[in-house]
């Protein structure tokens, strides 16, 4: 099995799905001739032509809205939002339209659109090219929100998203694109949306995370193992609807829970995760539910000193895990 990067896994998933199903097409800003500003769609226009790899006008609400119309008609659009920060003009189309199409029509219509958006920081992107926007969409029934952390999951989840009969928001962490590599089969497979995965078995503490910070937890777990601390690590993978059973099971297993995400703490996805635990296995807990998250400031600044101050680093995660173990 080839070891490839997270971004290549995403490109591979799109290419395979476009080959498999002529109804799959890509639309977005600079996705065609340029191959995407991150090169995620590189090579697609050459293989599939500009009818199926559409360089759209600069208008996110139209990218999603036109995609919704096409999806309802029977196509399988993959709409790219150039940066997750720029999904805001499309919120009405996503939340009022895509998410509610099936429900409001009493199952007469549906909307199988996939909306991809690179998110997250640590790339000198400043306030508007670094945001985590997932929490805005994790209260919207009808939507599914997916964040892969590994190349394997990226490919499998993106293929599942494209085949899903409902709208899926697919957030890709920009730092993972080229940093994270892993084994990815060249065969056709999907990873189920809605299922979290234990990425490491352990017995002393439970860490729940997703995206880039999941890797920090995995690295820390290696180090802590040498100190005799055994960490159980759950990758949420789907942020909405959450895999409640997996969360409760992982929390109950060790009784000590740390939730880690790059997004701001207050109102972040970690709050819901903690609430699920506090509702369903409170008496299994041996420690307060801790959250290690981004600070509650509007976004990650550009200046390197401020960016560094904002973004979680592996040491902080290690430290928080160690503290919890010793609680």
């Amino acid at each position: 099995m080839a070891v490839i990067s997270y971004i290549d896994a995403i490109t591979m998933a799109m290419r395979e799905e476009m080959r498999r199903d002529p109804n799959v097409f890509v639309l977005g800003e600079d996705v065609g001739v340029r191959g995407g500003v991150f090169r995620t769609t590189a090579g697609l226009i050459e293989e599939f032509g500009e009818q199926r790899v559409v360089d759209t006008p600069l208008a996110e609400s139209a990218i999603v809205g036109v995609g919704i119309g096409a999806a309802a008609y029977g196509m399988r659009p993959i709409a790219e939002i150039q940066f997750a920060d720029f999904i805001m003009p499309a919120v009405n189309q996503i939340v009022s339209e895509a998410a509610k199409m099936r429900y409001r029509s009493n199952n007469d219509w549906n909307c199988p659109i996939t909306i991809r958006a690179p998110f997250g920081g640590g790339v000198h992107g400043g306030l508007y090219h670094s945001q985590s926007v997932e929490a805005m969409f994790t209260n919207v029934p009808g939507l599914k929100v997916v964040v892969p952390a590994t190349p394997y999951d990226a490919k499998g989840l993106l293929k599942a998203a494209v085949r899903d009969d409902d709208p899926v928001l697919f957030f890709e962490h920009k730092r993972c694109y080229r940093l994270i590599k892993g084994e990815v089969p060249e065969t056709d497979y999907t990873v189920p949306i809605g299922k979290a995965e234990v990425k490491r078995e352990g017995t002393d503490i439970t860490v729940i995370s997703y995206g880039l910070t999941l890797h920090f937890a995995l690295q820390a777990a290696e180090k802590l193992a040498q100190e005799g601390i055994s960490a159980h690590i759950l990758d949420l993978r789907t942020l909405y609807p959450l895999d409640k059973e997996a969360i409760v099971e992982a929390a109950a297993k060790t009784g000590k829970v740390l939730i880690v995400h790059e997004d701001n703490k207050e109102g972040g996805v970690g709050g819901e995760v903690a609430a699920i635990i506090a509702e369903h296995c409170l008496f299994d807990l041996d420690a307060p539910i801790r959250r290690l998250c981004g600070p509650d400031v509007p976004a990650m600044p550009y200046s390197p000193t401020l960016e560094k101050q904002f973004i979680l680093n592996p040491d902080q995660v290690l430290q928080a895990m160690r503290e919890l173990a010793h609680f």
């Binding site: 006008p57 208008a59 099936r102 409001r104 029934p141 599942a160 085949r163």
Partner: protein
Amino acid sequence: MMVNRHKEVGLTDEQVLDMYYYMLLARKIDERQWLLNRAGKVPFVVSCQGQEAAQVGAAFAFEKGNDYSCPYYRDLGFVLVMGQTPRDCMLSVFAKAEEPNSGGRQMPGHFGSRKLNMLSGSSPVTTQVPHAVGIALAGRMQGKNHVVYTSFGEGSSNQGDFHEGANFAGVHKLPVIFFCENNQYAISVPLKKQLGGKVADRAIGYGFKGITVDGNDPIETYRVVKEAVDRARAGEGPTLIEAIMYRLVPHSSDDDDRTYRSREEVEEAKRRDPVPAFAAYLREVGVMDEAKEAEINQRVQQEVDDATEYAENAPYPDPASLYQHVYGESKEV
């Protein structure tokens, strides 16, 4: 005798009678819904009164079963031509389970039916415009030749989604008819506070044709829309059509229009009411005699009565169905 204008534009006598039937049907369903509302039987009505001529005229320009539509909430006349039945409309206003648009989940006027190639609509205005463009794009990708109709009020033409959708269609020369029903008001806000320019003129900035038409005239509206549909089907791209009309009743059953417009203005508009005006035309050109008119009246009356009774007695949705259809049934992928 008046000149026969409908033959010129390719409409048969039968077709114009049919048009009249639909206009009257829309009007009578609408009037009945207001009565039901005032009697406390249904909580909400949104009206098409004054807009039937434009709606029915436009609808006749499309190919049922082939073309697609994304209509807005006032388009009762349009959706009746496309195949919604009086029973469907009454079920909707009573919010009954069998109601085809949404199973009673949405307010009346939120049309949608896969069977009728009519995409489900929502309340936030103008979101349907990019959808229509997407259906047109999908049709081109699949080598189909359908044309897509989408309608909206003049106030709604100020939403960003109108602009973004129209420009997208302009770039790709897609077969979309943007049909603006300019009824002079957006709830209480009159044109001069709503529009910097003219809606039809906006098409220029997207590189396609914008046309103003008298929305009180179903024949002229038909002609203009038909030409646009023909152009669209021939690959010549979209058209924006602004039909000028007047909303004869309040915005909805929750509105009181006396707070923002004079009774004189409304009375003046009622004198140009398109429904009796079209009846007069049909009589004058000798297409509709008294017997024919009585027959149509009676048929409409009977259908409205039947629909009301049927809908009133139909069951509400099962409360347990609240939880259904948030997502599709899970399946292996």
